[in-house]
Subunit: 306 residues, 4 copies
Amino acid sequence: MPKKLNTILNTAVLEAKNNSDGKSASYIPELESVDPETTGVAVLMTDGSRYEAGDGQDLLITLQSTAKVAVLASMLEEFGSQKVYSWVRVEPSGDDFASIARLDQFGPLPSNPMLNAGSISLCSHIPGNHEQQLHWLEQWIEKLYGTQLKINNKVYASERRTGDRNRSLAYLMKSTNVINGDVDNILENYFYLCSFEATLKEIAYFPMLLANKGVSLDGERILSIETVRQVISIMATCGLYNESGAHLVRTGLPAKSGVSGLIMAVIPNKGGIAVVSPRVNRKGTTIRGSLMLESISNAMGWHFAA
Amino acid sequence: MPKKLNTILNTAVLEAKNNSDGKSASYIPELESVDPETTGVAVLMTDGSRYEAGDGQDLLITLQSTAKVAVLASMLEEFGSQKVYSWVRVEPSGDDFASIARLDQFGPLPSNPMLNAGSISLCSHIPGNHEQQLHWLEQWIEKLYGTQLKINNKVYASERRTGDRNRSLAYLMKSTNVINGDVDNILENYFYLCSFEATLKEIAYFPMLLANKGVSLDGERILSIETVRQVISIMATCGLYNESGAHLVRTGLPAKSGVSGLIMAVIPNKGGIAVVSPRVNRKGTTIRGSLMLESISNAMGWHFAA
Amino acid sequence: MPKKLNTILNTAVLEAKNNSDGKSASYIPELESVDPETTGVAVLMTDGSRYEAGDGQDLLITLQSTAKVAVLASMLEEFGSQKVYSWVRVEPSGDDFASIARLDQFGPLPSNPMLNAGSISLCSHIPGNHEQQLHWLEQWIEKLYGTQLKINNKVYASERRTGDRNRSLAYLMKSTNVINGDVDNILENYFYLCSFEATLKEIAYFPMLLANKGVSLDGERILSIETVRQVISIMATCGLYNESGAHLVRTGLPAKSGVSGLIMAVIPNKGGIAVVSPRVNRKGTTIRGSLMLESISNAMGWHFAA
Amino acid sequence: MPKKLNTILNTAVLEAKNNSDGKSASYIPELESVDPETTGVAVLMTDGSRYEAGDGQDLLITLQSTAKVAVLASMLEEFGSQKVYSWVRVEPSGDDFASIARLDQFGPLPSNPMLNAGSISLCSHIPGNHEQQLHWLEQWIEKLYGTQLKINNKVYASERRTGDRNRSLAYLMKSTNVINGDVDNILENYFYLCSFEATLKEIAYFPMLLANKGVSLDGERILSIETVRQVISIMATCGLYNESGAHLVRTGLPAKSGVSGLIMAVIPNKGGIAVVSPRVNRKGTTIRGSLMLESISNAMGWHFAA
């Protein structure tokens, strides 16, 4: 397989490069400053074997919304599903990542934890005082990614500066008692979460951990099987907002996108993939990244369904 | 496994019987006349082994919305995905099975083929004149269920009598040129589709066929692998309307519900399950049926994700 | 006043002719065939004095949605407000004239009788068998316009041919028991209503009748004061769909628009105005007609509020 | 008239007292502490004659949302309609007073200045620094009510404490650049505005001023005729949120409600009315107050339309 997979990854990168649709997210200067041609992929199998193709392998990329999976997994592990699902539902919403209309009409609970509102709700329940909450996030990120990740402080500052829509979501949830406590602190948790940065191969570790049923490469159980099942299911139905359905049809890989041009995807029972390319469509999904995943999944027969 | 599975099925039936929430669909007399205590399950593995538990095994149950999967699979096979996805999208909608608001606001294409609107759209593209279209449906049903199924004429008549909301959906799609041709005929196709009836073990055949990558128990290829992948993915994200997300989290089984109290579910690569129990919740899902699937999946470790 | 008003009308026409925005409604050939430059106004005061300016004075124009006011007034007169408001509400909807989403989400009763859904609901309650219903409409039209009006049969045929969105609205209301009976007949009532045609000065008679508190120029009471108050109020808040608010701010004249480029407007206690010009905006309102009303109202001090 | 009007007012109060539907707003302790049986009315005619009936005449009542009319009138006077309508539209929304869904779907501009969002938008454009803004509000309130009004500091504090939904609206508008500047300050303007308090007869002064075409009882022009026309029109179509249509049909009086159980209403060209009774319906409208206005308007023939 190694040889075959290397060839397939290289082909996927080359083909994806023919597409120049979309554009880099511009609301944060740090995102716009990445070379829009960057097109890379990293794969980590549950046997520990690693593959990569394309460029950007040494680039530090902010996790952005892909980190929503981390807080979901951590909270499930820490509080159990009953508690967690009293804070957020798990239904694909049919709406975009920051729909306030949806929350107002179908709430008070956010539709799912892959949406901004849902992740903010979870971030409001992280245990401890504010410093402890940030520390809690750092520790869980380390566990889930198998290594310590750092915050990109510029991105963190930018998120805070441009976060008015998220503030609107948070105050709406506060007005309906979905969240409690200080909205500024809660949003700082959320912005902090989005601002962790890592290389592609570091990012591929977390979906590999999920594919490996929650057990690390060292054989340590990090997540329970129940958490793993739930997290992968939610990625499958909600991971790409209102493109989740089409994504699963085309790739068969439960995944989560981030506006930095990232997608991390789980190959159930087999491994994890991370792709990056900054040009995103209007729904915030990396276009080349999505094409690469489709190409790789088809060539490898990694579609979950058959 | 046989012994273990039999025990698990029986346990699932027994546990489910403790729940008497919900009530039988009443808009059609034939649905209301079934004994609401009926609680049965049938499993068909890809090796041809069969298991069953509970009652209702000889009951003829109308497929209702579970048949939407059949027309989707047939149309994909007959016209290919590009054509089919010009008639319907594949996104979970976040709304209920017959939402007109959603179609009006986010259309003109219906969100997905598991919704009434989406299935009606597909039914408008069945090839041939009206008689040929009904015949086409019969033939595909025979292929997908591995046996000839008959129409329940009373249900068919009742569907037509009570179908005003579906007429509204159809005329809305006609006004936006999503469907063409005679609305009455198109809806008759759709009502016909919903009115096929079968026993539980006959119903379990179709998800088994999907689990078996489209190959019949006789070794004949009925559906291409591409069709199978797409159909199972769409069941995973959209099969239970705005409960699809929670269903996948809890059971890990791509599935499709019907208001007759049916759910048919795919155990990827392993087999098919059909459950029945008439009492449905407000979203039209059989409550006991859903509980049985969760119990069986957990006990057998059939969750797709791990 | 006569001299002054004549000058003001001529000025209003001239000024309006500077604007060539919008375009003629094209869904019906008969609407598109009218010269788009047509720009006319007719005023009828409660003392019987008549004024006109611009062209199109001899043109027969189909009433289209302006006739919705006629069926509202007739039904209020015939059944009283309590009955009528069990068939339709009287709230501006904030949505467009044929919004199905609104009806689905905020129904089952249509928001107001100036919307297609609301008028269709009223048309379903016209007394008698189908022939009697059409006759009933003819008789009320004669009373309210002070003269017999004829149906434009080509427009009637076109309305029926292109009425799928209205069929969708009607079937949705039938599914929620807002309307009963044969949907085809009900819609024929509605299409019939929209297809009456008249000259501008004939059209100005009805709003004059309303301004005259329901008493005809011959001194005959046609409508009760209660009906008049309600009808004018509903025109004020709902007459121009989701432009009603801006229209009232700018002109102060309760009014009703029609896609044929008509607006009929009430000058409370003073008289009626009819304007026509075929180019309509995206909300179906005649652009030049709207400008003329604003200009005339301002120059004459006819704003209802001061 | 005086005698007749006194009788009519007393009758209206007595009749209204038969109705005990609804309940006092409870989100603010100060509102809930008012005796729910309080039922009063004050009328001020443009000739300076005053009438009153019922109790609560000496009660200081916070203006709440009725004060939205004051900031609208002031801003129109200060900036002109073109500027003001670049900050807010003037369409009835069909939704409730604090709908965020509406703003998210149909924005970015709020539908009208009688909604919370619309009034907050105007409050963001009050000239000067924060202290000057509060002072500006005080001065305009004095002009429009003909006397200096004071802030109820407890209500002001409560509004700030419970204002999360308004914060959500404000941040949503900030995210779309509808408002700029410091959200906390903008909301303090808005909460300050809602916290002015006055007696019924003081409150009746402002609608009298509008009825008197913007001229004070002393003969001083406070508002231009253009401002008066626009303000009354907006009250007519939007003053009672999604009950505005029914209110105008029943009373014919352009009006504005407040959650303190107030309605202030304009009798065009004749005078102003203020009613109070704390029990409000689910849309925030005083039930007895609404009944009193209907009774008085009908008895006096004050319906604007005839």
